[in-house]
Subunit: 298 residues, 4 copies
């Protein structure tokens, strides 16, 4: 599930904080495509307590840069499924990322579509279309490509820089071991009865891109509708896609809530991705026999 | 997916409406366990335009009956995993229903637990524990059993009669072909942007108790966030469990909504059961990049 | 706002726990209309740590009682706007309660409607219609009256006993000082951005049946979207109706969320009643520029 | 409630469509501050069927313009509470708008705060801070001012141009009579019971900035949980702030839903603004005795 990209040994934050300036910049020089100045700009913010802080410092360097440098950063990126990709001239990271989204196996029609969009986009904005493609599908990428080509230049430049930041984030997670501060928690509230839903069984799965899900753990909510401990925390919390499966039917039966036969809601899957393993993900369920809500809480 | 029970040819509503009184009562005599008086009481309400109306007329007969008759109806039911089940003395319908919930293959410890609960429940209320077990699991049944034994007698009698009505409903659906008036619809609203979520791909699956899901159809939401036609309707809408899989990530990418990498929400499964194939099931999705809600709408 | 009924000095729980058995029963003899046996039945559960526990013990006495005693309890209640009311023969408590809902000033047509309903209800169920009328309106009472007359007898008896419990609860709160364990908290989450909504100003009002609202306090949410301390707690948390006014527009402006001009949502009122001042009321707001949800949380 | 600004006779769309080119540009020359080129750019899109289309054509002209022209448009705006305002040198429209937000009556401290922010913002971005101030409060404006000064230049330019579009929208509504295509509708769903909430009384109020609300109409939801006709439509639907007050307590009492005494939810106010009187505003309520949601639907 955690999608690590080109394998390499990851650095600890301690190690990164103690590197010489040149080594620091070299280690992170390819996080922003062909733009080692971003890593250099973040040097003064050391020491970093988290990958989150490191990323923020690098992204702030981009935000502070002059427009010429910002456009240069955008232009340093290759076209998606473009000539460089065809010629095998991508950076190792870009090559891995484009192939993970299936861009190395396009049909001739899809290839044609990408070339037309690449040309139209470059013509309008003066830099290539950039999107964080890892975990994305061709359908998603094409939808974004067509839509963003319609943006006004100011909005699109802000969007492209945001995508650059997302790519950098995923590259950083491959390079640096995150701080073990993250956790995944949940809470089930019965909105029909106005009280916590206790005694409700919950399964946690890892969702794999292909193949079946992997059961990671099973829980039962306590009297306050919560788990007694985080479902995942620290090093066990990895970036990736998960599913919480709430066995609400058992709760409804115990609570005596009237339902249909079979009940409209029984086992409820909530599928979500954790992008930042240093963060708290609170994923609650507001539940009645006929409705539910979920959200990223805090 | 539709779970039909002992196979037999189903009657049309027209046929049922035109039967002689005796044949009508005979046809529906086992819908309420050992209580043909319920079918007889509904006779005067003919003709029925739907199984829904037929069931309502039968359940109204139960509601109107004197307490003695109502308690008699409850007492006509067998214990769950009880002596009659062990001795093979259940009605065909009860036998099928109990085995569908796995009650014919209990461990000795589970069997012991059921006998203890059966005795405690009967002792307190004077009738056996009744629950619509089809599609239920042992865990659900035990949760309901333990909880309902704590009820006060008035509440529990109302609960038991509601379960009798649910069992009758499922038995009716096996016996009588429903009117083709049902439909399944959806609607996706973008609550971050305050507008319909158009262009969002949606898959519809049948969820089977065992084994993989079956893809029934794929759709794309239109400019109003709806499907151009019901996802299912008429005879194609069968009682059973379904899953709508909303490919929200593609919509977010096209709409330019800021998300994480990977996005917190991408493909969102909504799993629900249709118990009444004559009804309209509107199952909308209220969606933002960080939250969603669903409910049975109208 | 707290609606205290006939004024009298309230007892502490300590005092109540130390009373002789006869005095205890006398003190609480009129909590359940003309039914001092309910207070007597709760005696063995002393000491009580809260009015909540006391009420639960009394209601459990009712639940355990034989059907004759339960029907007797129901029959001990007067008709609403009935002969006893007209003749001034109600208990002091019933008289106060009926007049608080405006039942002592009905139009002739309303009076006629009540008499017809009283007769139909009594005829069907064998006991008078009972509803917790304090804080209710004539429209609410008539809606409930007409609807509940359609119930089957088992369901209606359960409903009537639940209303008796609600009346008892409100009478107990007038008689006994609650434990200072309650609190009111809130939490604002930005569901468009997936994070707490900090820096959002919130006003708390007491809502009075007549006349303007009273501003009780103003707050600003902290970085976690919460208030630094409960909005109300302990003795300051009284049963009654409140309104939290969330100044979301200021938050949206600061967060840079795109809105219309004027914004669809700006100041958002959430109005709710606290019935149990010993409890925790968590009243969160899940907020986007185009949608919000609230619920009683925990 | 509709806040019209400097009074003048409004044009019909027909009139506007038939004006000579010079008159058209003159009529709309001050919609975008000191920038008649925006109106000229929209000329070729005539005829306009709605103010919405007219505004879109003008905003598209801005989007298409070169960066110099866009920055010029931003620079054409006055500082908030700035020297031009003090000297009485604002355009009539800007003067009205600034005073409607209370910016003509600042305390010395507030005035000082504005001057500091004006200087910092101009220094960073090269144009004045622009925000649609009508209906805004000083607190909201200061919150936005402080927050937006932290933006990166690309994001802030996109934000500023969006605010220019909002100001233009409000100015257009004063100048041109909107097409009578708008309507306000609602729908109440009982999420505890999974069905429409019929028979629920609803009041509609106009919310005035100062003084009491004005009751516009009362309704009762039909069997589908909807009103039989739009709450407002056509010319009666004006831009402004409204409140729907849902008398849920009456519905709960009729539906027999268990509630506390008093009920947690009784009369539920939903307050919202209509910015575009040509649009459909669907403002539903998803309701249980312990929770509710609302959103702008379609």
């Amino acid at each position: 599930m955690p999608d690590r990209g080109p394998s390499e040994t990851r650095l600890t934050l301690d190690k990164l904080n103690s590197l010489g300036q040149k080594d620091f910049a070299a280690s992170l020089g390819d996080i922003y495509e062909h733009s080692p100045w971003v890593a250099q700009g973040a040097l003064t913010e050391r020491p970093f307590k988290s990958v989150t802080d490191l990323h923020a410092a690098m992204q702030a360097t981009v935000d502070r840069a002059l427009d010429d440098a910002r456009v240069g950063l955008l232009r340093a990126h290759p076209d998606l499924a473009g000539k460089a990709a065809l010629a095998g001239e991508l950076t190792e990271k870009s090559s891995f990322e484009q192939s993970s989204a299936g861009l190395d196996s396009l049909t001739p029609e899809e290839m044609e579509r990408f070339q037309v969009l690449n040309a139209a986009y470059r013509d309008k904005f003066g830099f290539p279309f950039i999107i964080a493609v890892r975990n994305a599908t061709k359908a998603l990428i094409l939808a974004a490509f067509e839509s963003r080509t319609e943006n006004d230049p100011t909005t699109e430049m802000a969007t492209a820089l945001r995508e650059v930041g997302k790519i950098a984030w995923m590259r950083l997670l491959e390079k640096v071991i995150p701080a073990p501060t993250g956790r995944l928690t949940t809470h089930v509230l019965d909105t029909a009865a106005g009280k916590p839903a206790g005694g409700l069984p919950v399964d946690l799965f890892a969702v794999n891109a292909q193949g079946p899900q992997t059961l990671l753990a099973t829980f039962v909510t306590n009297a306050d509708g919560r788990l007694d401990a985080p479902a995942l925390e620290g090093e066990r919390l990895k970036a990736g896609t998960y599913e919480l499966l709430f066995h609400a039917g058992i709760y409804f039966a115990r609570a005596g809530l009237a339902t249909d036969a079979p009940a409209f809601l029984d086992s409820i899957p909530i599928r979500f991705a954790i992008s930042n393993p240093e963060s708290h993900y609170h994923v609650p369920l507001l539940l009645s026999p006929w409705s539910y809500s979920t959200y990223r809480g805090s």
